[in-house]
């Protein structure tokens, strides 16, 4: 199974084996809806049905294969995922007491359908929780905005969601409206645990190409894509820089421009940047090293490191297409306005 979860479970408090791991707590309940306790799980962990063999179930990663996980991470950026996750953990901690109270009150309301006093009590608990959620989110407005979470919309969404939940007899957590969530963007889905975001990324067109893999050590994968482009996915660090240097040296011998796609790079250290610059410096006259998808953070680092413009180095937003040539930004290392 390509999408079998590779993690060692149960997850420990400090688990860090999979870069896509998103901690979530799962509250188990007995047949009378009484909570049994909380367990750590991953937002992406689901059950898959093993159709070919015994027909049993296996732990399935909703992101799909390792390849899909890398693409998902590259699109979100690992640092943004961690920032969302940290806010999400603070939210879980803040809301634990409220959620327990909500759950217990609703249980009593469901057991006594005609009791208006309990219904009113439930409404009051919901109102108190919503007010606390608003305070929680408002006091973090700037941090939320930095990762793309709109505080006001998020409060309304949670309120509507809670009101809908109290109106049903079902104790299970309702899923928020998928279309509404999708419209609110990826970070909201990551924060609330929906899976529409990852679906939108995993099925991203053009994500899968008939690339031939030149090197893959589990940390960095380098493959040759359409037109001989080098596609990097994963981490460029001191353990993988030698492999990158080798691949770049081989590409140099092909006698054309070298095109490097860094869209899938989750991390690149100074040594990685240096290797790319060395290749650009070694380019014969008239040939260039063209890089697409370089993380903004690396451009900032290059500026601070004092690496100025190089005639043979071009940073582009998109590859040149038949519709027109995308101008290379030769001025990418200039100080920001």
């Amino acid at each position: 199974m390509e999408d079998r979860c590779p993690c060692a479970r149960p997850f420990s408090e400090s688990y860090s084996g999979c870069p896509a791991y998103q901690r979530a707590t799962f509250t188990a309940a007995d047949s009378l809806n009484r909570p049994l306790g909380s367990f750590l799980t991953c937002r992406h962990l689901t059950f898959g049905r093993n159709t070919s063999e015994t027909g049993g179930f296996y732990p399935r990663c909703a992101l799909g294969s390792r390849d899909s996980r890398l693409r998902w991470l590259a699109e979100i950026r690992p640092e943004r995922l961690d920032a969302v996750q940290a806010i999400s953990e603070e939210f879980d901690e803040f809301s634990a007491g409220y959620r327990q109270q909500l759950f217990a009150t609703k249980l009593r309301a469901v057991a006594a359908p005609g009791d208006m006093a309990i219904r009113q009590e439930l409404s009051a608990v919901v109102a108190g929780y919503v007010a606390a959620v608003r305070d929680f989110l408002e006091s973090r407005r700037e941090r939320l905005a930095e990762v793309g979470l709109p505080a006001t919309e998020l409060t309304s969404l949670i309120e509507e969601w809670l009101v809908a939940w109290t109106a049903t007899r079902d104790m299970a957590t309702l899923a928020p409206d998928a279309d509404r969530l999708a419209a609110m963007g990826g970070p909201v889905q990551a924060f609330l645990g929906g899976d529409a975001w990852r679906r939108s990324v995993v099925t991203h067109p053009g994500a899968v190409g008939a690339a031939s893999i030149l090197q893959d050590d589990g940390v960095l994968r380098i493959s040759r894509g359409p037109g001989g482009r080098l596609e990097l996915a994963g981490d460029v660090d001191s353990s993988t820089v030698p492999a990158l240097a080798g691949v770049l040296a081989a590409a140099m011998r092909r006698g054309r421009d070298i095109e490097v796609d860094m869209t899938g790079v989750l991390f690149c250290d100074l040594g990685g940047v240096r290797e790319l610059l060395r290749s650009a410096a070694a380019m014969p006259p008239g040939r260039r090293l063209v890089i697409k998808g370089i993380p903004d953070h690396l451009l900032k680092v290059m500026r601070l490191a004092g690496w100025g413009e190089m005639p043979a180095l071009a940073v582009v937003e998109q590859w040149e297409t038949s519709a027109g040539v995308v101008p290379a930004s030769g001025a990418f290392l200039q100080a920001p306005a």
Binding site: E79, D237, S239, L270, L277, L304
Partner: protein, 318 residues
């Protein structure tokens, strides 16, 4: 023998503390120094607080147009960024027979203790950095009414010339370049709280990055600042693997509003200016510690017989 401002035979680099008592005294002392520069058509750069810049401009009148000003809060919040700024100023204006002047006040009473210690190290390193420099007269104002006595004593140790505050106890004599070494070998305070510890080697830089990323996120850092923290710690830990015996230890903890990381290894820090020499234009050459100072709010280097430590302080917003 302590030299005075009126000495005729000036050395190439004159590093002088100006001990002043309160705001008016500051304006008198620095104002006279600036007017002398303007009268002699000597280039001068003044790096003090924004409030003091405003007061000086008021005092100087039309002369202020001949003076360069820079806000110390921008240039020197991390004091390791101050020497490169002076080096740039000197490189830009130095010429045969031309004297340059500067005023730099990196130390004020509200500085946090860690920052203060690094400012004192910075003052000592100035003597090393400008040992062979052009004719450059740098005046460092110290407010003796606001600063602790020990801070003023340290100014005596790190400045070959001391002016102002007549009658103020001379304190310790100038201690020469050795002051910079003393700072490099003085242990740092123990981490506040209980740090998270990770031993790392060549195969575990990914774990180093995961740990820093998570703790930065939990300290409230946004994505950009998390990326800064991860990048810097990865480089410094990489230095431990390459130059510090192949392995090291990472300690991570939180100070109020900041994330602090220690990278400890068995290497030695040789060059006292290792972290504040602007990298050359070439592709090769070390840049890790330089970048650490550009991306962090404070970097503390210490070297001992048994090994060295790089302590990186990062605030959530820059």
């Amino acid at each position: 023998m302590r030299a005075t401002v009126d000495d005729a035979a000036l050395p190439d680099f004159r590093h002088e503390a100006l001990l002043y008592s309160g705001q008016d005294d500051f304006l008198v002392g620095t104002g006279a120094f600036i007017r002398e520069a303007v009268a002699a058509e000597e280039p001068i750069l003044v790096v003090v607080s924004a409030a003091k810049i405003a007061m000086l401009k008021d005092t100087l009148g039309p002369d202020e147009r001949k003076v360069q000003f820079a806000d110390m809060a921008n240039v020197g919040l991390n004091p390791a960024r101050i020497i490169p700024a002076w080096v740039d100023f000197v490189a830009q204006h130095a010429g045969p027979g031309r004297r340059l002047r500067g005023i730099g006040e990196p130390i004020w009473s509200e500085r946090a203790q860690d920052e203060l210690v690094e400012c004192q190290r910075h003052e000592a390193l100035l003597n090393v950095a400008f040992d062979n420099a052009a004719d450059f007269w740098l005046l460092c104002p110290y407010d003796i009414t606001a600063l602790d006595r020990a801070v003023v004593e340290e100014a005596h140790r790190s400045h070959p010339y001391v002016a102002g505050a007549s009658g103020h106890a001379a304190g310790q004599p100038y201690a020469g370049d050795a002051v910079a070494d003393t700072h490099l070998h003085t242990p740092l305070p123990n981490p506040g709280g209980r740090p998270h510890v990770l031993h790392f080697d060549e195969g575990s830089l990914a774990a180093v990055r995961r740990m820093v990323s998570r703790h930065a996120a939990r300290a409230g850092f946004g994505p950009e600042r998390i990326a800064d923290a991860v990048f810097v710690v990865n480089e410094v830990a990489g230095n431990s693997i390459t130059h510090g015996g192949g392995a090291g230890t990472l300690l991570v903890w939180s100070d109020p509003g900041a994330l602090v990381c220690d990278v400890r290894d068995h290497g030695r820090i040789g060059h006292p200016l290792a972290d504040r020499s602007r990298p050359g234009p070439g592709i090769d050459g070390a840049r890790g510690l330089w970048l650490a100072n550009q991306l962090c709010d404070l970097v503390q280097l210490r070297s001992f017989k048994e090994g060295s430590v790089v302590r990186l302080h990062m605030r959530s917003a820059r």
